[in-house]
């Protein structure tokens, strides 16, 4: 029976189809409920009509009978939507669990493949984790203070005359700091401090060194730290210079066994009695990285003029550093206090991260490990591509059985994600191990490296890198899988010709990129190695072997004047010279690898006066006449300094200075002076000595250098030349402690070692970059090997045919080798540009080699192509061994 009322209108049918289509994309609760209720009303209306009601009447009655339609509808919609949402979620979880289980089984079936992929990822990610741990500790959070982003270190820098290209920063003096603290509104707080090593008498009477810091009462608050025990000194106590100390927690534990009754106990520093009034937690640190923890915190008296104060401040929120700089300059200029800075200096505010010495190296190494990760990703991409290709049939069967494309893509992504989770765990292990190696290898010049830690941020980065890598690689695999039709894959055993061509192009692209990236790293590593070789070959201009520097920690309390210091040093000098094993002893203002300097402008006779206020650092050393013989610095012309007199007008210069001002002529008898504030005595050049790297091997030996007789040395150093095989350290220590038993042990250092240490930093950077480069090169070679091996396997039949048609084995070998090295050559070519650009990061790290050094670039390309050729040998052998009969019959 056909009821015309029941016949669906064509419109309704179309709507239903459309709705079904919509339902495919998700639940349509509203439409369903409307359908259901509409049906009900219609049926009820039909019932009423059967009882004799009219059309319109029946409909109205049916609606009335339903009651509050809107409320019922919305309630139904709400319930249904809620249920469907829950179902969707359940389905997703179920599908995910299934995907993971399936991926786990598939990965487990190919253990070798999975292992290689995970190891590759772990190495790439681990290298990044290790380097980022260092970056995170040193660059991102260099100082352990609250609101670290508003902290600035306050220095002065000369406004004129600094032509050295090296930044010169000096500490402000007390009046300036006072003026700033009173007059600055840009700074929320400003904390001056002085670091000093002092001597402390132990209970058994022995003397030891304590690291002290003089601070204001507000410093702990600035650093966000409260005393562990007791209190900090008050401003009044500091102003009265009361002898009160707050000790550091490590010191309290080590020296006082964490005595809880420590408050009020005495302590002897520099022979003065102090009273302990508090203990500060280990978290209170001076704004310097690494180095020794502060043992003792002393009150800083800002009323007393000090030579120079280290200053750190916290800007008010939102104040730009430029404005703050301008304000401090203005405050200092308007200050009428005696000793306020002259216009020769301006304020230089520096964020702490800029002060990290290893900064440039860290930036460069971060870039390097990022490149290593790129190569690792490339390799995993190869593996995934090769696997997708061999799994084509499996995927096609799944598709034929009804798995949607989205489902298959999700399956592949799940596999990559499992890989990346494993890679992440491996990366953390590798990173942790790498960090331990890195820290244990740290050069003496970088004690702050010991603070490097893996923390939450590092874990986050590692996880992010892993997941990102997994997704990227998985997407590539899914992309390549998705492009093949199921039909084709089921039909043929392997890929069709066009598919394999596309695959090959993609893989060649990846391997070429890997080669290009390796090239960039190779050139960088070669440049650093050449620079290191240069540094090691340097003739320092003096004979460091057999030289010892003796630094005596004379404290100002017992030796207040330079004369007193000089007299004590002279006594030590005399006794040391008398030791059997000592060849010669001399006094100097400093010992390599550090230099002293004079401040002012250098003026040679005949030149106009340097502009007023010229302030540059001029390398200088105050020496004894026998300095040059002891150091074995060559005399080029003239004579060394005569016996010292306080008003000596003699000066000896280095060959670099003589060459700079009087090229091709003798410098003897010429006069020069160092002008500061318009003053400076003329000195006559009596001798020219060879350029010496007394500032360390990374310094410039030919930079102008002055040697003058100077008896008024602030902290004189003895330099002794020792006969071969003699260890002077115990004897010298004994002599000094005999002369003054109150002194802390003297430092006796071997200058040969010290000079070697002066290039430890560059060597460290070089070793790291070389390691990363080797890792990159191995990974890239593995990648190329994989591509070539796969390509040969794919082309077995073609090779067989060629051989059958008369190609010689040599032709086959050449073809394979050419294919591989061509990729490497192309990569090297692209990498050249990258290296040319990337070598900027090596600026200031290269010695004796230009960063555009052609030989390094050529060598890099040669190493790359050579490595590529090595990687091709095994695939080439396989190709040559193809038996045409077997190959053609196969498949």
């Amino acid at each position: 029976m056909h009821d015309p009322q029941q016949a669906p209108a064509p419109n309704a049918a179309r709507a239903a189809t459309w709705r079904r289509y919509l339902r495919f994309w998700g639940p349509r609760a509203e439409a369903d409920v409307d359908d259901e209720l509409g049906f009900h009303v219609e049926m009820r209306a039909r019932e009423y009509m059967a009882r004799g009601m009219g059309d319109v009447e029946a409909r109205a009655a049916a609606l009335r009978r339903l009651g509050n339609l809107a409320a019922a509808r919305s309630e139904c919609v709400a319930i249904t939507s809620r249920r469907e949402r829950r179902m969707t979620r359940a389905q997703l979880v179920d599908a995910f669990v299934h995907d993971v289980a399936y991926a786990w089984r598939t990965l487990g079936r190919q253990k070798g493949w999975t292992f290689v992929a995970i190891i590759t990822l772990a190495l790439g990610i681990g290298a990044n984790t290790a380097v980022f741990s260092v970056v995170n500790t040193l660059l991102l959070r260099p100082l352990p203070y609250p609101d670290a982003d508003r902290i600035a270190i306050v220095y002065l820098e000369p406004t004129q005359g600094n032509t050295t290209g090296v930044q010169m920063l000096v500490n402000p003096n007390t009046p300036t700091v006072r003026a700033w603290r009173d007059g600055s509104r840009a700074f929320e707080s400003m904390e001056p401090y002085i670091r000093d090593d002092r001597s402390m008498r132990e209970t058994d009477g022995t003397i030891s060194v304590v690291h002290t810091a003089s601070i204001l009462r507000t410093f702990p608050e600035f650093a966000g730290v409260r005393p562990l025990l007791g209190r900090v000194f008050t401003d009044a106590e500091a102003a009265r210079a009361e002898r009160l100390v707050v000790i550091g927690e490590p010191f309290w534990r080590a020296r006082f066994g964490a005595d809880p009754q420590i408050l009020g106990k005495p302590m002897t520093i520099d022979q003065h009695p102090y009273t302990i009034i508090g203990v500060m937690p280990a978290a209170l640190r001076l704004p310097r990285l690494g180095g020794d923890a502060t043992d003792v915190w002393l009150p800083l008296n800002l009323r007393e003029d000090a030579m120079g104060l280290s200053v750190i401040g916290r800007l008010r929120p939102g104040v730009p550093i430029v404005d703050a700089t301008r304000e401090l300059d203005r405050v200092a200029a308007s200050s009428t206090l005696p000793g306020a800075p002259t216009p020769d200096f301006r304020v230089k505010l520096t964020p702490p991260s800029q002060m990290v010495r290893f900064r440039a190296s860290l930036v460069m190494l971060s870039a390097a490990v990022a490149l290593v990760l790129l190569i690792a990703c490339g390799n995993v991409a190869h593996l995934v591509l090769a696997r997708t290709a061999t799994r084509q049939r499996e995927l096609a069967i799944r598709a034929a059985l009804g798995a949607s494309r989205a489902r298959i893509v999700r399956q592949l992504l799940t596999e990559s994600l499992i890989l990346s989770v494993a890679g992440c765990i491996g990366g953390l292990l590798v990173g942790w191990a790498g960090l331990q190696v890195l820290v244990s290898m740290r050069p003496a010049s970088l004690p702050e490296l010991i603070a490097a830690r893996m923390d939450g941020l590092t874990l986050l980065l590692t996880a992010g890198l892993s997941i990102g890598t997994g997704l990227a690689v998985g997407a590539l695999g899914a992309f390549s899988a998705g492009r093949h039709s199921a039909h084709d894959a089921l039909k043929s055993g392997a890929l069709s010709a066009s598919q394999s061509r596309r695959q090959r192009r993609l893989r060649s692209l990846v391997v070429t990129s890997e080669m290009a990236v390796s090239m960039v790293l190779l050139v960088g590593a070669i440049l650093l190695v050449r620079s290191m070789l240069h540094l090691q070959r340097i003739e320092p201009g003096f004979k460091a072997a057999g030289l010892y520097a003796i630094e005596i920690p004379l404290h100002t309390a017992s030796y207040p004047t330079p004369a007193a210091r000089g007299a004590f040093v002279a006594q030590v000098h005399e006794r040391v010279a008398a030791i059997q094993g000592i060849e010669a002893v001399t006094v100097s203002a400093g010992a390599p690898p550090s230099r002293s300097f004079m401040i002012g402008g250098l003026q040679v006779e005949g030149e106009p006066n340097p502009p007023a206020g010229t302030t540059s650092f001029i390398d200088y050393n105050g020496v004894d006449p026998n300095y040059f013989q002891t150091m074995r610095i060559r005399l080029v012309e003239g004579s060394t300094l005569a016996r010292y007199e306080d008003d000596s007008t003699q000066v000896v210069v280095n060959a670099g200075l003589a060459k700079k001002y009087w090229p091709g002529k003798s410098a003897l008898g010429r006069r020069l002076r160092v002008v500061y504030n318009g003053k400076g005595d003329w000195k006559t050049i009596v001798g020219v000595v060879g350029d010496a790297f007394t500032g360390g091997l990374t310094s410039e030996a030919a930079d102008p250098m002055l040697y003058m007789v100077n008896r008024e040395l602030f902290q004189p150093v003895l330099i002794a030349r020792v006969k071969a095989g003699f260890d002077p350290v115990p004897t010298i220590r004994a002599i000094v402690s005999q002369l003054d038993p109150m002194l802390a042990p003297v430092t006796v250092s071997n200058l040969d070692d010290a000079m070697k240490r002066s290039i430890a930093g560059p060597r460290f950077t070089m070793i790291l970059l070389v390691s990363f480069t080797l890792l990159a090169l191995v990974l890239a070679a593995v990648g190329l090997y994989g591509v070539m091996a796969y390509s040969v396997a794919q082309r077995t039949r073609e090779i067989g045919i060629r051989i059958a048609l008369g190609a010689t084995r040599r032709d086959v070998a050449r073809s394979v080798m050419w294919q591989g090295t061509a990729l490497a050559l192309l990569g090297a070519g692209i990498g050249l540009f990258g290296a040319r650009w990337g070598s900027r990061l090596l600026e200031h790290m290269l010695y004796g080699v230009a960063r555009s050094d052609a030989a390094s670039f050529a060598l890099g390309a040669a190493v790359l192509v050579g490595t590529a050729a090595l990687a091709c040998i095994v695939p080439m052998r396989r190709a040559v061994a193809v038996d045409p009969l077997v190959a053609i019959r196969a498949d």
């Binding site: 029941q6 359908d35 259901e36 009900h40 019922a72 249920r83």
Partner: protein, 114 residues
Amino acid sequence: MPDATTDFLKGTLDLMVLKTLSWAPAHGYGIARWIEQCTDDVLQVEEGSLYPALHKLEERGFIVAEWGVTEHNRRAKFYRLTTAGKKHLAASRDYWARFAGAVFKVLETAPAPR
């Protein structure tokens, strides 16, 4: 007493729906008609609460719904009792019988002598 009927129905609607579906799957209108016919139109299902009740039962897993075609070739949503629904019906039926019996007893008993 329409008010009493309504209140009475609200508590028992679920039970009656489940019972109706225990014979055969049905759509909402069919369920409403069935209840009316069974009770000789004494109990008129309040249709405004029938559909939310159905959806709630579906959410609780006692019934499942699927779209089907009526004998008049009309698309409608049919509800079917699940195993859980059968169990729930049995349990509720027992409870209801005891409850109804108890109420009936109270109503029929004469006041106890003091």
